[in-house]
């Protein structure tokens, strides 16, 4: 992977940053908009001059759910009707929102979870060797 300045604005590059435990956004050089996930073209001004910018990884919970009927990938992690997991949308202090797993909250007592709860980015490693991936999570 090339150095930070020249990485392309792709999902692969974003995921590589996650593997390096960095939550990176794309800043539009033309209008200043900050995009997360990254984009190669700014939808606000249509400029294509963007740069990677590190985020604080700090944010607040904007929406969430505790999933009991799970997709196969989460079933493989042991989740299911008796072991729900939490995911949601986090609004970063810098403004953009992103979808992520949620940690440090009880999925069996979802009704007690508050919108606006402060959260901090964490990085979950799944799989091994060439198949290893890093997933974005936020911990309350």
């Amino acid at each position: 992977m090339p150095d930070t300045a020249s990485r392309p604005f792709t999902a692969a590059a974003f995921n590589q940053y996650l593997a390096e435990h960095q939550l990176m956004a794309a800043r539009c050089e033309t209008c200043g908009a900050l995009h997360l996930p990254p984009r190669a073209i700014c939808p606000r001004c249509h400029g294509d001059q963007l740069t990677w910018q590190a985020t604080s990884g700090r944010g607040r919970l904007a929406a969430f759910t505790a999933v009991s009927i799970v997709p196969t990938a989460l079933a493989a992690e042991g989740h299911g009707r008796d072991n729900p997991y939490l995911c949601g949308i986090v609004e970063l202090d810098e403004g953009p929102k992103i979808s992520a797993r949620l940690l440090g909250l009880d999925p069996r007592h979802a009704a007690a979870i508050q919108i606006g709860t402060p959260v901090q980015a964490e990085y979950l490693t799944r799989g091994e060797g060439d198949r290893q991936t890093t997933l974005l999570a936020f911990r309350a």
């Binding site: 999933v67 009927i69 196969t72 729900p84 979808s99």
Partner: protein
Amino acid sequence: MPPRATPLPRGVAVVGAGMSQFGAFPDKSGRDLFVEAFLEMRRALDKGFDPASVDAVYVGNFSSDLFEGQAHTAPLVTDAVGLLPRPATRVEDACASGGVALRQGVMAIASGLADVVLVGGFERMTKLPTAEVTDTLAAAGDTLFETPAGFTFPGFYAAIATAYMHRYGMTPEHLMHVALKNHANGALNPKAQFNVTLADWMRGRVEAARKKGKPLPAWQSEMDFLHDDGANPQIAWPLRLFDCSPITDGAACLLLAAADRAGEFTDRPIHIIGSGQASDAALHDRDDLTSLGAARLAAGQAYAMAGVTARDIRIAEVHDCFTIAEVIATEDLGFFEPGHGYGMAEDGVTARAGAKPINTSGGLKSKGHPVGASGVAQAVEVWKQMRGEAGPRQVPGDVPLALTHNVGGTGNTAVVHIFERRN
């Protein structure tokens, strides 16, 4: 982009409509269901069907590839109904595939390239186990940035519900009333997958427990039943089983004709006077999580084209893939102010005999949601209601104007049509 205020350059009318039975049919392919819908449409044509009159075919289908292992389905279903060699085009916009196929048919006629168009939609979903259906539907989200977070489709709408509850004070009980209302309507629709009220459903469960000698459930009311974690389990908090539309096999068909040729098929056409469609980003990339911006834009376009307002619409079929989706739809369409839609089912406003009947067919919730067919089946319902042919679920009074609202994904696609009866 301001809404286009001019009418269609050429009038378009629905001249025939039909749908298959909705449900789970192990012995029927998607193609079989399409034929079933087509035959009902053909039989319903007041002046008979001339195959030679059809110029083109548009078919809404989300994922026969993953559901049935069959891609390139439009020519196959066109062959099955004997309409080769007409140009046949599959339209895919997730759960809005059917509504967008309808819009393609409208545009084909309005452009002058076609006079008569068959619009259909189908989905054969129940062949896959539930986990794989969940995966397939989740593929309508952003598989790079949303599904890795663990979002399923119920999960997306559940997250929308938490944002809405936080902002406006809605409770899960308000959503239960949406399910109750739509099952009450579906109980009157013989084509519905769940052709029973929730009270009947409860009685069935009690009877089954009695026959097996098991302890009898202590439900005193439908709300007791809906609060029972065993009978109505959590799917994605705060959405339970009865907040979710089912997994369904089904198909629907419409015959569209240029307004100046509609008289060849029927003396009672239903005119399409408004059409709008818009697109939106992944859910996390939107400013407002309590409204679908694409639906607001599509509705604005359709109202402007039709020259009518939300107040003028007598009934609407809206995309209630989840109970929360109906609440938000009725606000996005301008029927109710933002934050005011959630009590309308409980208050009876959206009931069949209410001021603004919503989902008289039973909606996706009770009628069933074969995703590629749903947008077309919505038009089948308004066709029946506007012609006074909806049987026991016919709304009281006249239905001169009706609306359909069909959503793909979490509102990444939205398409709205407005229908008018002139005689």
